[in-house]
């Protein structure tokens, strides 16, 4: 198409097909319910008539003469022996019938009123469609209440509508007579609708030009072309017709039966029955989920997928085919971790790399390489799958006998679709794609085995773990897409969150444990160990002078880490092991909790989640990425993290039950304390039962006692937990993980070794179950701690059956909540995205809608791009002062 005859779509208007149009657009009348004759040839005038177009490649269309792909298909029509109601418009028909006179077809309002409404309608039309709709609603409402027509004086009756398509008139009822419902046949309805004049039709909400009221009672039915309902041939050779074809056969059968009955002069009741059947088939042909009509089913009992079902819902035409499509050059597999590849990389199985291709144009510079790839063919790994000749003909190398021949033919203008190779950039994605970093660019690293490999440090933005997660990979086709993937989507360019500007990725789990172990004060490394660690971190450069020279040279862990921190970094913060003394003891901190980096050298403090963890604001990692650049950030993560892992491997990192033991004396003391508090609670309950408890303002007595018990139990758990935590082995790896933030919390540990604590359901103690009690082992009305879900055992000791049940209640509630929340928030997100998708920030800093309408004068009121801010704040003043004055400096 040339540029000049392109048309711009201004709008789309929907209307009804008139009977004349249905006939005019059709190429053939369909009147035979038979589709094929004995020879298996389509019956002329049947649903598979050749004139409706063809889908078989061997035939030409009898109407347009084109072959399968080119023939668009042609409509036919069915002449219905008796009119039927269009099921989608039944409601509108009811409104209209109620508003107009049964005799003269005028709206049952006085001429003056009508004139006034017409004037208002003229003003609203086109300008405000919503108000126009509201106006016709009021007209209908007013006119429906009139019994005597102001124009011809005829008596009108109220009209009842019964789903899906039946209408009754409530006749009689005068002078104490019982009223009777009289059915209005579609023929009569059509006559009444025909009488409505064009101006009044508009007033009733019909767009008269494209939708005359009487067109809503069907006399003709369009038959869609075969290309819209192709039959499929099963392996057995049997043909299976499309659901629409089945439904149309039903309609034709009913129609033919109706015709026979009419011409043979059958009694009216028989005719009505068949007419009703025809109406039913037309209803289900339009929408097989219509309320009030039983769904039409296939022989197997499967409901038929008719017109409305093709469009509706998640897998319908709109959401399934138009808003979402399947793509080529993509791949999906299980993911597994590989900390030894870079964060920018993704491990791609060789088998995948042999299928996914990149089109590369043959030039003087790459012709030798391309020739080699083509010669290697599709089966030898670095090879090629297709060659596109300069004339546009594509050669599939799988079916080429001698790839050498075509390889030698290569020259300028050829395009080679070569295998994916190390260094190519691809897009990597994990669903649900809730935010921008759910799709990032990765550099390919072709590896053996069959899973995609990714560095665990990039798990947080994808929210990925390795319990069976799968991810998708897409290969950009073309230089522009590749450049975008490399420059915009690459992982290192997404280290900082576009939502708040903090780091999204960072150390997790073993990276953190390893960093903590390595940077502790007690670490002194032999030369060999240092070499081993630096090799793991691919360090290139001189060894720093050893921290200790006598009796032999020894290096500290902090020295090793310092080699990987960019020189420009000066930073201070507090680690998790900071005990929180009022006055910081700096270097003498018992937990080495004061982290201080000066000019890229870690002088004091241990590294833990607070310094290098993912999604931690104002961490050392954040400073590196922001001050030294994303490349430096990536390098730190690629190199230093490997050192951490290497050290933790050499050091050994494991957990055992022994980690969580607490001395028996302490355990007994805790048990005693628990009993004490339970006693207090029993006393409080006794006082409540004696009626001695007084409620605080705004609470009932029941709430008061409940709160008292809850607070006592919470306090007890905290108290017991603290004591237990103090008495645990602080050198154990379990405790270390909880302390550094690598995994688990101190609360988890106290639940294991000391006390599980109160279980909750619906935001309070567990109260549901049997009447007045949670389980039959308790007395009616037992309010004690144990009877309402308090678990005083620890996981270490084991739970009693009753405690186990309470624990399961809470666990199940959590599971259900998660399931409900994800579906709800997912739908909310969908709605939000559709509402907000075309908002954008203009060059003047204002937020505009799709048509340039002003939404906000300045984005976020302050015009700050959160992606480039420090947690929403444009300038971190404290940080700048710190940097200038080097205030963090301690001597």
């Amino acid at each position: 198409m040339s540029l000049s005859n392109k048309k711009i779509v201004k709008g789309i208007k929907f209307g009804l097909l008139s009977p004349e149009k249905i006939v005019k657009q059709a190429v053939v009348e369909i009147n035979s319910p038979e589709t094929y004759d004995q020879d298996g040839l389509p019956v002329p005038g049947g649903l598979m008539d050749r004139r409706l177009g063809t889908v078989e490649p061997s035939q030409r269309c009898e109407t347009c003469g084109a072959r399968a792909g080119k023939c668009p298909g042609h409509f036919g029509y069915i002449r219905l022996e008796r009119p039927v109601i269009h099921p989608g418009l039944a409601k509108k028909i009811h409104e209209t019938l109620s508003a107009v006179c049964r005799e003269c077809g005028r709206i049952k309002l006085s001429d003056e009123e009508l004139e006034e409404y017409e004037k208002q309608m003229k003003e609203l039309e086109g300008r405000n469609p919503n108000l126009a709709k509201a106006l016709s609603k009021t007209v209908i409402k007013k006119a429906s209440q009139v019994n005597v027509c102001p124009h011809c004086g005829a008596t009108n009756y109220s009209i009842e509508y019964e789903r899906p398509t039946t209408f009754y008139e409530e006749m009689g009822g005068k002078k104490g007579e019982a009223s009777s419902l009289v059915r209005i046949p579609p023929t009569e309805i059509r006559i009444r609708l025909e009488k409505i004049n064009s101006v009044e039709a508009n007033l009733l909400g019909w767009d008269n030009e494209v939708a005359r009221p009487e067109w809503s009672v069907l006399t003709y039915l369009p038959v869609p072309p075969i290309s819209m309902r192709p039959a499929i041939t099963l392996e057995t050779g049997l043909r299976s017709e499309d659901d629409l074809t089945h439904k149309l056969v039903d309609i034709l059968r009913a129609n033919e039966k109706l015709k026979e009955h009419i011409s043979s002069g059958a009694p009216q009741s028989v005719i009505d029955d068949v007419w009703e059947l025809l109406q039913y088939h037309v209803i289900t042909y339009f929408d097989n989920e219509t309320q009030g009509a039983p769904s039409s089913r296939h022989r197997s009992g499967r409901p038929l997928r008719t017109l409305a079902q093709r469009l509706k819902g998640k897998e319908g035409r709109f959401r399934g085919n138009l808003l979402g499509k399947r793509v080529d050059f993509s791949s999906r597999s299980v993911i597994s971790p590989d900390p030894w590849i870079g964060i920018n990389e993704v491990g791609v199985p060789i088998e995948v790399a042999k299928i996914l291709t990149i089109p590369e144009k043959v030039t003087d510079l790459n012709i030798d390489r391309m020739k080699e790839l083509v010669k290697r063919g599709p089966n030898n790994y670095p090879g090629a799958n297709y060659v596109v000749r300069p004339n546009g003909v594509m050669v599939d190398l799988r079916y080429v006998k001698d790839t050498n021949e075509i390889g030698n033919e290569l020259g300028q203008g050829f395009i080679v679709e070569r295998h994916l190779r190390d260094g190519d950039v691809v897009l990597f994605n994990r669903q649900p794609s809730l935010h921008r970093p759910s799709i990032m660019g990765h550099v390919v690293r072709v590896l053996p085995y069959r899973t995609f490999r990714l560095n665990p440090a990039v798990c947080p933005p994808y929210n990925a773990d390795f319990d069976g997660d799968e991810m998708n990979l897409h290969v950009p086709q073309g230089e522009e897409a590749e450049a975008e993937a490399k420059e915009i989507l690459l992982v290192e360019n997404n280290l900082l969150s576009p939502r708040f500007g903090g780091p999204l990725m960072g150390a997790i789990q073993d990276f953190i444990s390893g960093a903590f172990l390595l940077t502790r004060k007690s670490v002194l490394l032999e030369k060999g160990e240092v070499m081993d660690l630096l090799y793991a971190g691919s360090y290139e450069g001189p060894l720093p002078p050893p921290a200790i020279t006598q009796p032999r040279p020894l290096w500290t862990g902090k020295q090793i880490v310092s080699l990987f921190i960019p020189e420009s970094i000066t930073y201070s913060s507090k680690a998790n092991s900071c005990v929180g003394c009022g006055d910081c003891k700096y270097d003498d901190c018992p937990g080495d909790g004061f982290v201080y980096v000066k000019d890229g050298e870690l002088l004091m403090g241990v590294l833990d989640k607070k310094s290098i963890g993912a999604t931690v604001p104002n961490s050392l990692l954040h400073r590196i990425v922001k001050d030294a650049g994303v490349a430096a950030g990536r390098e730190f993560m690629d190199k230093a993290f490997k050192v951490f892992l290497r050290y933790s491997e050499g050091n050994g990192f494991t957990v055992g039950l022994k980690d969580l033991e607490i001395p028996n004396t302490v355990r007994e003391a805790l048990k005693k304390r628990i009993k004490e508090v339970e006693g207090e609670i029993d006393e409080a309950i006794a006082a409540y039962e004696r009626g001695e408890v007084e409620a605080e303002a705004g609470k009932t007595v029941e709430e008061e006692i409940e709160d008292t018990i809850m607070s006592k139990l919470t306090k007890l758990r905290d108290e017991v937990g603290d004591t237990a935590a103090k008495n645990m082995d602080h050198e154990s790896h379990s405790y270390m993980m909880a302390l550094t933030g690598a995994r688990g919390s101190v609360l988890n540990l106290t639940q294991i070794s000391a006390i599980v604590g109160q279980q909750s359901s619906r935001g309070g103690r567990i109260v549901r179950g049997y009447s007045d009690r949670t389980l039959p082992v308790f007395d009616h009305g037992d309010m004690s701690a144990k009877g309402r879900g308090f678990v005083e055992s620890s996981f270490y000791e084991g739970l009693s059956p009753v405690e186990f049940f309470f624990h399961a209640v809470t666990g199940r509630e959590g599971l259900v909540d998660t399931a409900v929340r994800t579906s709800q928030s997912g739908y909310m997100q969908r709605r939000l995205i559709h509402a907000l998708e075309d908002l954008h920030v203009e060059y003047d800093g204002s937020v505009r809608g799709a048509e340039g309408e002003l939404i906000e004068v300045k984005y976020g009121d302050d015009g700050v791009d959160p992606a480039k801010s420090d947690h929403g704040i444009a300038l971190n003043v404290d940080r700048i002062i710190d940097k200038v004055l080097k205030e963090g400096e301690v001597e």
Binding site: L854, I855, V857
Partner: protein
């Protein structure tokens, strides 16, 4: 509670529309029945300037066209 509403004069309105590069129809709307509009005696087509507190910028400015 109610943030400051200021009725813009004809000249101020024209100046504003010019600076923002929008027509009246592109501005957010405020009803003629809005109490503040009634208080300011603003007519259909007038522009009201809103000055309100903002958690990010301290004070933020918005505009509404009376419809």
């Amino acid at each position: 509670m109610v943030s400051t509403h200021v009725l813009l004069s004809k000249e101020e309105s024209d100046e504003l529309l010019n600076v923002l590069g929008v027509s009246r129809d592109d501005l957010p709307k405020i009803s003629t029945r809005d109490p503040m509009v009634k208080y300011l005696k603003a007519k259909r087509g007038d522009i009201v300037k809103l000055i309100r507190n903002s958690p990010t910028a301290g004070q933020a400015i918005g505009y509404r066209v009376v419809v």
